[in-house]
Amino acid sequence: MFHLSQDLNNEVLNSEYPNIQKLSQDVYNQPNDIKAWDALFDEYDKIIDDSYDMNDRNSISQNLKDEVYKAYKSLLSRFPLLLAYWKKWSILEYKLNGTDASIDILRLGVENFPNSVQLWNDYLTASETVEKEGSREKMDKLLEEALRHNSYDYNSGPLWNKVIEFEKDNDEKVLELFLKVIRIPLYEYAQFYEKFQETCKKFEIGKIIPEKDLLDYVKKFGKSKIIELSLIEKHQIIDDYITKIYSITQAKVNSSWQYESNLRNQEFKIVVDQEIKDEIETWLNYIRKEIEVYKNDNSDGQFNLICNLFERMLIPNCFNSDSWLKYLKFLNDSRREDSFELQKEVYLKINSRFIPLNKQVTRFMYVKLLLKHDKLDDALEYLLDWIKLYSGIKLYFKQSYLESITELVKMIQHILDMEEFRWVLKKWINMYFDITPSKKKQEEEVKIDKIPMSVINQVAKYLNDDSICIIIESHLLQLQAQDQTEKIRQFYNQHHTRPCLSISVKFWNFMFQFEGIHQHNLNNLKLIITYIKNESNLPKLVIDQFINQYYDIANANLKKILLINDGKSDESIIKRDLNISNSIFYNTATQKRSSEYNYMLKHNNNKLKQDEYIRFIRKQIGHPGIFIDSTPDITNKFMNDGNYIDLTENDIPIPPLPTFKNVEKASQNIKYPKD
């Protein structure tokens, strides 16, 4: 179960077909369930097959066409790496709208999934047929793009073939391609070597072999100039040269093969299974080996090879932020000039498309990268954008939102100096609670140059009941650092009953540690623990921890506790176990809290709240959730009202038959709550 940022644009598809409507709803509810999608597409296929007429393009209504388009688009914009569905879509589109439309889909495919050799192959083949007489230039560009992304892919043989085949009339280009491809470790490396051997003889020797190497050869043959070489000698030299390259490539291919042969899951799957997880190690070993090579050779080719390996590894692992971070680390460590740009490109791509919304690491890493390169404004803007998104345009992503706010506060603390930071925190709290400081107390406006005021105000706009607690904690910590004990207590007195603080673990933890450990004020600590126990809305587990901690502190300071309580022992020491017990009946503090925060009770009388809560619990005891109002009972029990049996009597009378109450009610059908 995970969310991607694409979810925020998701909508339920509307359809005139009731079946489709239902399946669309399923897909909307379970967008990560490929079976739901399959069911939807199968249904579309059925409908289309029913009314499809080969010769009539208009046999399918435009509405239906649009629907299908939307359905595929929403799946593939969520999961652009689903190769099979791109292909399926393009075939369907061909059926519905013809060649151009189908090619358009493939174009979309390679744009969204540029590392797929197969998709490029399909796209190039299809484009070729259309563009026969059309612009060569366009084709050239496409081929270049295809090679840019995939030339170092171990399985890119077919793509190379395609490119060489297309350029066959352009000798120079072909030579350039061959010289490149024979150096790359490909699965089909031998094939290219053989082909090149066949054709290479027609090229000028100087174009194949760099001058430096060529001069070495010339020397070996005992000549002083290239022109002096005979044709046979030239051919001998070329053969020798490319055979040398061949043997180097062969060695590379062999060493890669031990890894490639173990990587069986190279396709993208929505649900990452154990096999994919197991193969990560193989990928990393593979990449480590290549990085070792790169350390000695530092060539562009090797760098691109490693990048390509990372990209391929990240097809099945695209949701795994750890793997992406390894790639980014490699880019960062490469010390190349374009390292920042490359990292930026990757970060932007993965943050917006792949990394699930609950994983923040790469997003924060990008912010740090921006800060490192002195792009403070960009960093703030980027973080704010995410905060805005998480805060609930469509859904409130609480976890991610709070993490981002925490990150933001950290960042601002880092950028500003202490005085400014404190001022900002105070300003945020005042803005949030709508407090205007009295004129006397009004502190001087602190001038902040490093961060524009507009940003500060914008952050204030995105604060909510949860995140304000983070700000408050930072504020209190700052006060503590300044030894402003009075101010902290003032703040407590003023604000501790606010509803937003009644659920803040951070706030209560701070107050507890402050009075208990920092100030050693047991009187205040007792007040705090009593408030937590009886009034707060914290989870029981958290309250238990406070009670335990208080117990430890109280036991360690028995003397003081006795003084506070006029010589009596403290109740919370004796009742510790009761107070953390899970029994609603015995744990009166829980009773009190729960009766306060339960919407199913009809609160008429404050005093009776707890009684009512106990009744509420009793009705469902043994069968939680099912409320039984009347339990059957015997009304004339032996032991009631002196009806006991005198066992000293000789002739014991037969007691009357029992009479019952609530039997009929209890034997009625049980009403189970509806979901």
Binding site: M1, H3, N29, Q30, P31, D273, Q274, G392, L395, Y396, F397, K398, Q399, L402, E403, T406, D465, D466, S467, C469, I470, E473, P499, I503, S504, V505, K506, N509, N537, P539, K540, L541, V542, D544, Q545, F546, N548, Q549, N582, I584, T590, S594, Y597, N598, Y599, M600, L601, F616, I617, Q620, I621, G622, P624, G625, I626, I654, I670, Y672, P673, D675
Partner: protein, 428 residues
């Protein structure tokens, strides 16, 4: 059955005791019919009517009624194999003249446990059909065949006998009307109070006389009440197979109540819950904090829209406590509603369960987890996210083995660490 034998002996003993000491309860029971060995034997036989002692094979047989005309022996064999165990044999008895009429059958099992298990199905729905189980001990039918024993012949059942009427009175009333035709009279006593239970039996030497008496003596007033007569079960002259009165098993309390269909609400071992009304205002960590105070959690999963949460506890009592605590509560300004959920077993993953999201298909019974003792120093865990090594040590903590000081210290230390974690890891 053995228990009933015991009761019979007790009854037997009682009758002996008042034979030698004829006061109080038995009143002035006339010696006329009692000492005669033949009539005494007859009475013994009468008792046997209520407790026909079967051989073992008979006891392991089950009567099953309301058999659909479509079903065959194979079907029943499969049915019982699925539900209980493979029966030893299955025999369907059909009305040959009218095969479409619903038939009955006898199922023989290996053991008494299987019979008991099978009998619990009585009244429940039969899988893959719209019929319900009609089951009984096959002994009912057997006693019928035992009626060839002449001792159970020609017996009338007498009901509504007034409490003050004793066996002698009953005997003399009938004997007066049909002299020398009455072999014995018996009133059934309550074993605890020794008082009359208000019914009894009259044995006639002749079937015709019995039928005549059935007609003539019906509604006759003996003592303060009019008696009610009927042909006693097992008597040769009748085809009645009703054996209800004779089938009292004091060990079992027959529950006639209809058992509700097994679903997530009625399964007493269900530990899956669905918490709704979260309204996006909860992080997974907060929900964990709400739950882990009560027990080990198998999984916690937020729904796609963050409004629901699927939870499964390890133990039922933990789930119940959490349920009671959370149902109806207002947390983070959200009104929580808890209901029982459904989980399905899966093959892979850290835990072997996942929530069932779509409410379709039959509910599958939840497997009960054996309850284990867990020391109170132990910190509850979320089993789907802890790593293998912790999972391994988790269930060693059952308190059955003495722990070393180091282990105890470890537990204590972990508890403190957990306390620290809970208080300091909160996001806000």
């Amino acid at each position: 059955m053995p228990s009933y034998q015991g009761n019979r002996n007790k009854d037997h003993y009682n009758s002996k005791s008042f034979r030698s000491n004829n006061n109080r309860n038995a009143g002035g029971a006339p010696r006329s019919y009692r000492p005669s060995s033949s009539s005494y034997k007859a009475r013994q036989n009468l008792y046997q009517q209520h407790s026909i002692s079967h051989n073992k094979a008979d006891q392991l047989q089950l009567w099953m009624g309301d058999i659909d005309s479509q079903w065959n022996e194979e079907f029943l064999m499969r049915l019982w194999t699925d539900l209980v165990t493979k029966p030893v044999s299955v025999k369907i008895i059909r009305d040959k003249a009218n095969p479409s009429k619903s038939a009955y059958s006898f199922i023989t099992f290996q053991s008494q446990e299987s019979i008991d298990l099978a009998l619990q199905r009585n009244g429940q729905k039969i899988p893959h059909s719209n019929k319900t189980f009609k089951l009984n001990h096959a002994s009912g039918g057997k006693s019928q065949s035992g009626s060839h024993d002449q001792t159970t012949e020609n017996t009338l059942f007498v009901g509504d006998i007034a409490l003050e009427v004793n066996e002698a009175t009953l005997f003399s009333k009938f004997n007066l009307k049909y002299p020398n035709q009455i072999q014995s009279a018996k009133i059934i006593l309550d074993i605890n109070t020794k008082k009359s239970r208000g019914f009894g039996f009259i044995k006639f030497s002749n079937g015709d006389v019995m039928l005549k008496a059935l007609d003539e003596m019906q509604g006759m007033i003996i003592g303060s009440k009019a008696i009610r007569l009927g042909i006693a079960a097992g008597s040769e002259t009748t085809n009645t197979t009703s054996q209800k009165e004779t089938k009292i098993d004091y060990h079992k309390i027959p529950i006639a109540q209809h058992q509700p269909e097994l679903n997530k609400w009625t399964d007493q071992n269900n530990t899956s819950m669905l918490i709704s009304g979260l309204n996006t205002k909860f992080t997974i960590r907060e929900i964990e904090n709400l739950l882990l105070g009560f027990g080990n959690v198998i999984y916690v999963e937020l729904a796609q829209d963050f409004d629901k949460c699927y939870v499964k506890f390890l133990n039922r009592h933990e789930a119940e406590q959490a349920f009671l605590y959370l149902h109806g509560s207002v947390i983070n300004e959200c009104r929580l509603k808890v209901s029982w959920g459904v989980s399905v077993p899966v093959k892979d993953g850290a835990v072997k369960f996942k929530p069932k999201l779509v409410n379709e298909g039959k509910y599958e019974k939840n497997i009960d987890v054996p309850s284990i003792f867990i020391t109170n120093e132990y910190v509850n865990k979320r089993l789907d996210i802890i790593n293998e090594s912790v999972r391994g040590s988790l269930f060693k903590l059952d308190g059955s083995e003495p722990k070393s000081i180091i282990e105890i210290n470890d537990l204590y230390f972990n508890k403190k660490l957990n306390q620290f974690e809970i208080l300091n890891d909160s996001l806000y």
